[in-house]
Symmetry: C2
């Protein structure tokens, strides 16, 4: 049996970060930059006031206070005039408004009588005080965002402020997914004997979105080798990754496994984990589209997505490193299979992890309240209260606290 780490490495070897594209700044949220973003403007673009107040010559306030100065102008933000303030005078100025020539400091309005034609100033200021100098934050021509940066709201604010209208970034990975098995019926249909509702398609679509990827296609593969072969040779939606769920176990009717084994480009393995032992991965068709075949049990499918597909999507999207894990204390005793890594669905609260009831790989009931997977190593068969357990947050759940 392959270890989780080895299988993850085998999957990561199938993909590289997606080729960068040019994206409008307003559309780039959540993407990863693929080239430095270079400022087109100084930030600030001009010397300006950091306060609502009065632009002055600091030297005019050296004598006894208060000082009364004539107000020779009123400068709102955006004022296009090339103003100047002679010695012995002041200009009313708003936050962000251009500092007039010659003035070298701003007195906050709170330190004045807020006069309109003459202002009484009650406090001294040092030269340069409450003045933001052109370019003190960013210089035009400087890189403001490095390659490999996640374009957060703050990073995009910087890009926009520097007047950069588009960025080079790795696009969002596009995922096509297929549930398999003739026993599945669409949500809302009445199941005949032996039939079950297809919950995996919906769950995997949600996981794809929660992982920041795009759903290129969601459909169902019949238990018909010819149809499966045709769909997988040229999957719809121009996906960067194909996911299937089901049909990869030891069964005589595991069509996906049968078809993809024949292509010779997909490997089926057992991974030393529970749930999620039967795994497969490889490439499809002439374009070599990566494919991951997830087990069909809903819980196995979810765990496999978290453990294998998330790192793969991160790599496609240009994100560095593994997804974040965190440590919690076990709040209960539970046993683990041993010899395999066990992913126990847990509810973490206040740093304490307690297993949700019903850990069978087909058991969804316990999943509604879980917010993490506790990763119990293969060497452990019993988790004791107080043990430190490494946990993986569940996609789409509230951050465990």
């Amino acid at each position: 049996m392959r270890t989780v780490e080895d299988h993850r490495a085998a999957l990561l070897a199938l993909v590289a970060p997606l080729a960068p594209v040019t994206v409008a700044t307003a559309q780039a949220g959540g993407l990863v930059s693929a080239a430095p973003v270079v400022a087109r403007l100084d930030l600030p673009g001009f010397d300006n006031s950091a306060m609502d107040g009065y632009a002055v010559h600091a030297a005019d306030l050296h004598g006894p206070l208060p000082v009364r100065l004539p107000v020779i102008a009123d400068i709102p933000a955006g004022d296009p005039r090339a103003l100047h303030v002679p010695r012995g005078s002041a200009a009313r100025i708003m936050t962000g408004a251009p500092l007039p020539a010659e003035a070298d400091a701003v007195v906050p309005v709170e330190d004045t009588d807020a006069g309109v034609s003459v202002v009484e100033i009650r406090a001294r200021v040092a030269p340069g005080r409450h003045v933001r100098r052109r370019g003190e934050d960013v210089r035009a021509g400087e890189p403001v965002v490095a390659t490999g940066t996640v374009l957060t709201p703050g990073a995009l604010a910087l890009v926009a402020a520097a007047n950069v209208t588009s960025v080079r970034a790795h696009p969002r990975p596009r995922v096509a997914l297929f549930s398999t098995g003739d026993e599945l019926i669409p949500l809302g249909d009445e199941p005949a004997p032996g039939q079950i509702v297809d919950s995996n398609q919906l769950m995997l679509a949600e996981l794809v979105r929660a992982a920041g990827a795009e759903l290129a296609h969601a459909g169902h593969l019949p238990d018909d080798a010819e149809a499966v072969r045709a769909l997988l040779a040229d999957p719809p939606g121009a996906p960067d990754l194909v996911l299937t769920s089901g049909g990869v176990s030891m069964g005589a009717h595991d069509t996906v496994k049968e078809v993809l084994t024949a292509t010779g480009t997909v490997e089926f393995v057992k991974v030393a984990m529970r749930p999620g032992m039967p795994q497969g991965a490889g490439t499809l068709g002439p374009r070599g589209i990566p494919v991951v075949t997830l087990p069909g049990n809903p819980v196995s499918s979810l765990v496999s997505f978290q453990v294998f597909v998330v790192p793969l999507l991160r790599r496609l999207a240009g994100r560095a490193g593994e997804p974040m894990l965190f440590e919690a204390r076990a709040g209960a005793r539970w046993s683990s299979v041993g010899g395999k890594v066990e992913y126990t669905r847990v509810e973490v609260s206040g740093g304490v992890a307690v297993p949700s009831a019903g850990q069978g790989s087909h058991m969804l009931g316990a999943l509604a309240g879980a917010n993490a997977l506790a990763i119990v190593p293969a060497s452990v068969t019993q988790v004791h209260p107080g043990d430190r357990v490494l946990c993986m947050p569940l996609l789409g759940a509230e951050a465990p606290r």
Copy 2:
């Protein structure tokens, strides 16, 4: 000056969870349930096999092994037939396929010769082994999702498996946002003297999306009282919340403040925090739409969004409690203003928080790499290396690790 906690409480008092709506299960990802979801089916819906193997009578395997049994049927998943397996015989059965009547256990294919007409069985099984009993996970009529549950991918899989096509949930809050100030120009235009690119509109739109809300409208308010009054009296996009940025300081041209002060339903206060001191909040128009007026400096605006708007959006969406904070160790020495809570932009890595360079409220340069805000209490003026600091993750950033 008001404390951050008092201002947050004042904001939360303005809103209640949005009235529940009925949402198709496939559209409910990320919403919070507003009523219990009741299963329409037993899960599993019928006794079925947990393995690919052979359905048998456990009692037939009591003698010496191996045992050879005739294979009287081949049962794929979804098989609608009402089969039964007499004593002394076996049926080949796939994972998830209905267990035939009388059979009481499944022998995994690995413990057999995989025979098609006769199977040689090499291991005993206990009655009930590898059988999933009807309803052992969930019973029809039972609640499977409690009120107030975040509808994660796993929770929705359960809802779908229980054949529930729609849920009652709080809708995603709709947010209309307006930047203000005549000095702002759209991204890509060339700034004339005194003008700056409107980066707040884009940043706030990204923050709204990253917080899981919906952007109902994004626009700009001119520095014209009449126009502002008209737009805010009946904001476009049927929003549940209106955000403005800018125009709320001490300036003579703070149009938003002037207009909203006149309505009498919006309060402008100073909050003991840096950045983000000037804050305003209240309601608009006859519908009493909540409004939050954010400061115009981009960093102040971002911090205010994280500190005040996120809790408000959580409440509207029906989420319980405050957003998650985490603790890190200071990895550098930095000073704080004292007397106010300071939100220092930091980069947290390996549990260690280091301030990004350039902490001015107008300084965006340092924001690109930050992934959290360190919350430095008002009583602290100096953070020392090794100090424990409480941190707030930045929306849209990689989870700090």
